[in-house]
């Protein structure tokens, strides 16, 4: 125990409280910084010599305080949960968004969608049934042609809308790819910097915060998770594929068709680059992949089914009748050029319905008098019973109208399930966020209290120095000077 050891202790105390005050300052400064984890100066008492050596002088009192380490306060378990839940929320958000856009494409229930147009066609046929043989204008027949053309246009527009949505989503995957690769590189660089700083004994808290923030963003983007590595580094893994290992980053690449048609066989997917291993991504990218490979094509397919049903239903009924000139009715719809064949001998037209899609649905009949309103024939009559039959198709139990309604109801249910699923997931996510914030967030009241504590401790340590100084003054200046 030396004469000045008390001064050293007090000095250490001053330094430690000063450091703690600095950390408090840093916390207060970053109270609103997203992703900042609050820090704490780890105060530790320095003990006396536990095993006194020979000739050692020890008064068995400790050597004061040490504030070497400043730590980040965060819960690794909660961070992992935030990654998982963030990915889940992102995927559900994309799913909800996709379905909402599909709903917009169909615009039901309303007066502008396919159902309204289809109903108008049936109604027009009802009018033809009343006046199949209007001698002057053929008004009712013309109305059938016009409403049918409008129905065809609507079916095609809806299909085009879905197709455009698909292409937009596919394009956005490229943006995701670039964003993810940039983040992966940044994480690897930060990892390297953290490793060097750790080895040099420098503070890495801010670097680690920044890196963990990036990892969380990657979790949202592609469903990445992280595991701790050496020297404060982290490894980033997506469904078993390691994308960042220490300072090494492996990029991702999007493959697959750029058009909905070519993507049916060449599905959009992510692979590692270099490496070429398929990666089952989650998060936003996973949601988009699901939209591209399942959701949008599924509704496109159902719409194609409806178009095919419209063609089959009207063709079947129309071919059963005779037109105004008394000739046998021809198919009303085909799928564009090359989907119908004409028998060279009988002149009968056969339509290959399997080639009819929503995008290619085409009205073959262009002349009003070619509409087959009569069941009596051959030979011209003013019979309208076939028109009645066609108008009555709207009540068919498995007709085009009812299968279209089924499509819309399925869509409605799926979209409403997605919306409520997203709402639930958001609650979970906000709870996890709240828990993280509760651990890592800065509380100003707490910082103020700490500040007071450290301030008082600093004053006290200063006072200790004064006291020791006075003691030494007595010892050095006054001792042995009795009588002088």
């Amino acid at each position: 125990m030396s004469t000045f050891s008390g001064l050293t202790t007090a000095n250490r105390a001053l330094w430690a409280q000063q450091r703690a005050l600095d950390v408090t300052g840093q916390n207060i400064a970053n109270v609103n910084t997203p992703g900042y984890s609050r820090q704490r100066a780890e105060l530790q008492s320095i003990g006396g010599n536990a095993v006194p050596a020979m000739y050692a002088v020890s008064n068995q009192v400790g050597q004061g305080v040490d504030a070497d380490k400043v730590i980040r306060i965060r819960d690794a378990f909660l961070e992992a949960r935030a990654q998982t839940e963030g990915a889940g929320t992102a995927a559900l958000t994309v799913a909800d968004d996709t379905l909402a856009q599909i709903e917009q494409a169909f615009r039901e229930p309303g007066t502008t969608g396919i159902q309204a147009k289809l109903t108008a066609v049936y109604t027009a046929w009802g009018d033809v049934a009343n006046h199949p043989n209007d001698q002057t204008t053929d008004g009712a027949r013309t109305a059938v042609l016009q409403t049918t053309a409008s129905l065809v246009a609507e079916v095609r527009t809806t299909s085009a809308n879905l197709d455009a949505q698909w292409t937009r989503t596919r394009d956005s995957l490229d943006a995701v790819e670039q964003d993810v690769n940039a983040k992966l590189t940044s994480i690897a660089e930060l990892n390297t910097a953290i490793k060097r700083a750790t080895q040099a004994g420098l503070p890495v808290n801010e670097l680690a915060d920044k890196r963990d923030g990036l990892v969380l963003e990657l979790a949202t983007a592609i469903g990445a998770t992280s595991s701790p590595g050496d020297h404060g580094q982290v490894n980033v893994v997506v469904s078993g594929a390691t994308l960042v290992s220490g300072g090494q980053a492996t990029g991702l690449k999007v493959l697959g068709g750029l058009e909905q048609a070519s993507a049916a066989t060449d599905k959009p997917r992510f692979i590692t680059d270099p490496g070429g291993t398929a990666v089952a991504v989650a998060g936003t990218a996973g949601g988009k992949i699901t939209a591209l490979t399942d959701t949008i094509p599924r509704y496109q397919l159902q719409l194609d089914g409806v178009a095919r049903k419209i063609a089959a239903e009207f063709n079947g009924a129309h071919e059963g009748g005779y037109d105004k000139t008394g000739a046998k009715g021809q198919p009303m719809f085909d799928g564009g050029a090359g989907t119908s064949t004409t028998d060279p001998v009988t002149g009968a037209v056969t339509v290959d319905l399997t080639k009819v899609t929503a995008a290619s649905l085409n009205l073959r009949i262009t002349q009003p008098e070619r509409l087959a309103a009569a069941t009596v024939g051959p030979g011209p009559t003013s019979d309208g019973s076939n028109a009645t039959k066609i108008a009555q198709l709207q009540n068919a139990t498995s007709g085009a109208a009812s299968s279209y309604r089924q499509l819309i109801v399925t869509l409605g249910i799926e979209a409403s399930v997605a919306t409520s699923g997203l709402a639930t997931q958001k609650v979970i996510n906000s709870q996890v966020d709240a828990s993280r914030e509760s651990v890592s967030g800065v509380n100003l009241d707490e910082e103020m209290t700490n500040m007071l504590q450290f301030q008082h401790a600093y004053s006290a340590a200063a006072r200790l120095i004064t006291t020791i100084d006075e003691t030494l003054d007595v010892l050095i200046n006054r001792t042995g000077r009795v009588g002088l």
Partner: protein, 310 residues
């Protein structure tokens, strides 16, 4: 749980957002007047709404069919009544012509001329046209039911088989019911049989033509003509009754259709339209909640220990 300023701010913001979202939803319903703006708002409601819309469109079409059918039936009925009155006149003149004892040649010629004139008039009525279509012509594509020169039937004849095989002109009056709105000339006025067919039959116009001829040439044959005329008249009365019955059916269908349209309209409104009172009430409640949340947030975020430290 440790609470931080940022946590309070985030939670408050989330709560405020939720409140505002609810207000936005109610606002959307109020401004559009619809509770269902997209299928996911209410999938079952969407199904019902779409079905009701379609049924309503169907019912409107049936209403058009009915009024069109009623028009055709009424025209047919009044034409038949006119013709029946004229046939009665023909019958009177025939009786006059049968009075062989007290009539001069000139008087007979006058009767013959009048009956011929009546025949022309009857043929004219039998060729009555509605919107370019002869009402007694069946489903003919022509504009006449009877040839005005010969008086022969030129309307639609069933390709094969007896009169019952006639192609009827129907109007669909409901999903399951259709009512015939025409009667062919052959059904109303009888059939003139082809040469050599036994027993030989004559239609109204042939009979009246024969009467005009026989009054002058061979009054003795008028007895048989009168019997045939009475038979034809009976046929016409039967046809008129038939038309009358169908008109009644059509009127009933009209009533049913009107009721159906009302029901469907109100059902559609029930499903799709906003309950104004309820929605406005909800909006007000939501607004109050929102304001409360705002002021609570303002109070909760403000103070910290800083305000109390010197």
């Amino acid at each position: 749980m440790r609470i931080t300023q940022r946590a309070i701010a985030t939670t408050s913001l989330q709560g405020l957002n939720r409140n505002l979202e609810a207000i936005g939803k109610l606002q959307e319903q109020l401004t559009s007047g619809k509770t269902i703006n997209k299928p996911s708002d209410d999938p079952t409601g969407t199904n019902a709404a779409m079905q009701t819309r379609q049924e309503l469109a169907g019912a409107t079409q049936y209403a058009r069919n009915i009024s069109d059918g009623l028009g055709a039936l009424n025209t047919t009925d009044s034409t038949l009544q006119n013709m029946i009155a004229q046939v009665h006149t023909v019958r009177d003149r025939t009786l006059t012509g049968m009075n062989t004892g007290g009539m001069s040649e000139a008087a007979r010629a006058a009767v013959a001329a009048e009956v011929s004139g009546l025949r022309e008039s009857l043929l004219g009525l039998a060729n009555t046209v509605v919107q370019g279509h002869p009402i007694f012509g069946g489903v003919t594509s022509g504009t006449r039911a009877y040839d005005p020169a010969t008086g022969g039937y030129v309307g639609f004849r069933p390709p094969v088989g007896p009169l019952e095989n006639t192609v009827m002109v129907n109007r669909q009056v409901s999903e399951s019911d259709s009512i015939r709105v025409d009667i062919t000339g052959q059904e109303a006025f009888g059939v003139t049989s082809a040469a050599g067919v036994v027993p030989a039959t004559r239609d109204l116009f042939a009979i009246v033509g024969d009467i005009a001829a026989h009054v002058v040439s061979d009054p003795d044959l008028l007895d048989a003509d009168l019997a045939a005329l009475d038979e034809a008249l009976n046929g016409m009365l039967k046809a008129a009754t038939d038309i009358g019955t169908r008109t009644t059916r059509m009127e009933t269908a009209k009533q049913v259709n009107t009721d159906l349209q009302l029901t469907l309209t109100s059902r559609s409104a029930d499903i799709e339209n906003v309950d104004l009172a309820k929605t406005i009430m909800n909006l007000n409640m939501q607004q109050t909640g929102y304001e409360a949340a705002l002021s609570a947030t303002a109070k909760a975020i403000q103070p910290s220990l800083l305000d109390f430290l010197r």
